[in-house]
């Protein structure tokens, strides 16, 4: 089956368990929203899926089209078709956006195959135009001195160029004003289709006005506690998270400062 299937996933950071038996299925062709209070482990899930070295998986599986990716290096997972749009994308001084994306595309070709430079730039410019990014960005160093909005647009540009099968968008709306949010959301919506499954992680319903999800999952204390249609997001917006937490039989704890 074409999907990402997460089964009973447990993961730690520095000995502290953050994911506590998480189950989630993201079929290709759908957009799922992952919501939850701060500190529920949403960002941790995205990093564990991508293979961040700070996290240790203690149990469970993440199957990408049936293949467990947890034993793979992060770059191998990416080449299998997993893309993570970072909440805080790294700055890479001295490496231009063009060279960076070229290296990523080149890594997907078989040995001896060379990326066609002319086609590459045509494609890059087309996608930058759609995201209302100045072409001068191609020769700027990756995220170096970028505003929050520019960084997020750069994430979506990379997603458009790399054409992943599955994308996890981690708090892509954070730090964006309404215009930037619309541009980024339009960018994501253009990529929607039968070839892409997206997991949109967000704390607020606001983003989901622009990227309307097929399903909504609520994550609390390292587990999915409730799933539903897009109306669930509206309900959470109106009533907050407390009722879901209580219904799940969990204790309501004050939100920590960061998620």
């Amino acid at each position: 089956m074409s999907c990402i299937e997460i089964r009973n996933l447990h993961a730690n950071i520095e000995g502290r368990e953050i994911l506590k038996g998480l189950n989630l299925t993201l079929p290709k062709g759908e957009v799922h929203a992952l919501m939850g209070p701060n500190g529920s482990g949403k960002s941790t899930l995205s990093k564990v899926m991508a293979g961040h070295p700070d996290y240790q998986v203690t149990a469970g599986e993440v199957l990408l089209d049936g293949e467990n990716i947890l034993e793979m290096e992060p770059d191998e997972r990416a080449r299998k078709g997993l893309f993570l749009a970072f909440q805080y994308p790294s700055e890479i001084p001295g490496v231009t956006i063009a060279n960076f994306i070229r290296a990523a595309l080149q890594a997907r070709l078989s040995e001896g195959e060379e990326l066609d430079a002319v086609e590459f730039y045509q494609n890059l410019y087309k996608k930058m135009d759609a995201l209302e990014m100045d072409r001068a960005f191609t020769s700027r160093a990756v995220n170096d001195g970028f505003s929050g909005g520019e960084k997020k647009r750069n994430e979506i540009l990379q997603m458009a160029m790399l054409e992943p099968s599955y994308a996890v968008l981690d708090e892509t709306d954070s730090g964006l004003d309404i215009d930037a949010l619309r541009i980024v959301a339009d960018g994501v919506n253009r990529l929607r289709g039968p070839k892409l499954g997206s997991l949109v992680i967000t704390h607020y319903q606001r983003l989901l006005n622009y990227i309307v999800p097929d399903h909504v999952h609520v994550m609390v204390q390292g587990r999915i506690v409730r799933s539903g249609g897009k109306e669930l997001a509206l309900e959470l917006e109106a009533k907050g998270y407390e009722w879901v937490i209580k219904e799940a039989g969990l204790e309501v704890t004050p939100e920590p400062a960061n998620g």
Partner: protein, 461 residues
Amino acid sequence: MEGLVELKTTKTGNGNTTVSNRPEWWLAGQQQAKARYEALPMPKRKDEAWRFASVQNLDLAPYQPAVSVSDAERARILEASVMCFEAAGHAVFANDQLLSFQGANDELQKKGVIFEPISEALAKHPELLKKHFMEQPVVLGSEKFAALHRAQCNNGILLYVPKNVQVKLPLAAWHWLSGANGAVFPHTLIIAEANSEVTFTDFYRSLDEQPGLAVSVTDLLVGDGAKVNYLCCQSWSEQALSFQLCSTLVGKDAYAKSLNFNLGGIFSRIESHSRLAGTGARSEMLGLSVCHGKQEFDQRTLQDHLAPNAWSDLLYKNALNHRAKSIFEGLIKVEVGAKQTDAYQTNRNLLLSGDAEADSMPGLEIANDDVKCSHGATTGQISSEELFYMLQRGIPRHEANYLISVGFTEEVLERFGNAEINEQLREMIADKFRRGKNVKVEAAGDEAIDETNVRSLQGTV
């Protein structure tokens, strides 16, 4: 070292340098320098100016002045002396003898530009050399090696740019070292008169991977309102010993920019001394070293502010792999009267292996209070977040490390700012990183360099 003291001050063989065409003052200077060289002690570990340097390895005994190259070597050298930028003139020296020379074009000559090998200039322009040759102070520790250079130097470049003359295209010299245990003494003297402008590049290279010795001196005299860009592109054999002394004298409202670009040598001492002598003088001092194996780059700098309203900005970056080592010791000195000085100093070291070592000693010495000065040093490894970001895009680890390392060097090239020359430097950097993959270095073992050897100091005033 004894071998060099005893060596003849003239060359035999098919060279064009014989004692007969040397002026008397030149020969007398050589004799005095010889005496100075003999009188001065070799650097010791406890000498402040040589702190952290592996001075115990500085044995000059094996080296002799390099002899003339064979016809086969000559052909290989000329073939490899390639610049990927257009030059207004260039010279190729091998073992201190001139192999090929393309002088400044007619137009520049008509304007009075002098671009000559020193061997020729001694006959044609003795007054310029007499006045300026080796007249800059050597204060950063290599007095002995400066004396050796004076005693042994036979060639190099004299570049004189008259008042108000702008030389648009760069000029260049190649200095080749060929043969095992040869010694060369390249010299570059640039005199830029008021409001003139010129760019000059020295390429230092070895024909083969063999031990050798190079003791070079570059003096840049930048007249009032003049602008000089200088690049020293050092890629001697990775078994060579190199001493590279650069001094810059910057006049009123003049601008000097120099880049010490270092790839070669097993031990390379780099001294760079800029004197901001005129009001409003500006000096940009750049350094970039990419080192691997057991290479050591020992860099000492001085930004000497003598006049008010002057600006100096230094950026030295070192990328170190395997068991390579870098030392950076820099001083900003603001003399009494140098009011409203703007002076900055930054040293950044990228450790690409746990066994690499970077010692950093930035310093300030300020004799008045109306100044803006800062210095800082950082030493670190490739950020794991940057690496993870690249891996997540599917870029393999070795390629990600390579891109980040090359990216680290870009800042210096951007500051140097010459697009054509930078292309050549980028190719050399890429080649050095490629070669680095094949370097085998035995495990650190007993002499293991532990984390405490990685010093990082930081300060701001």
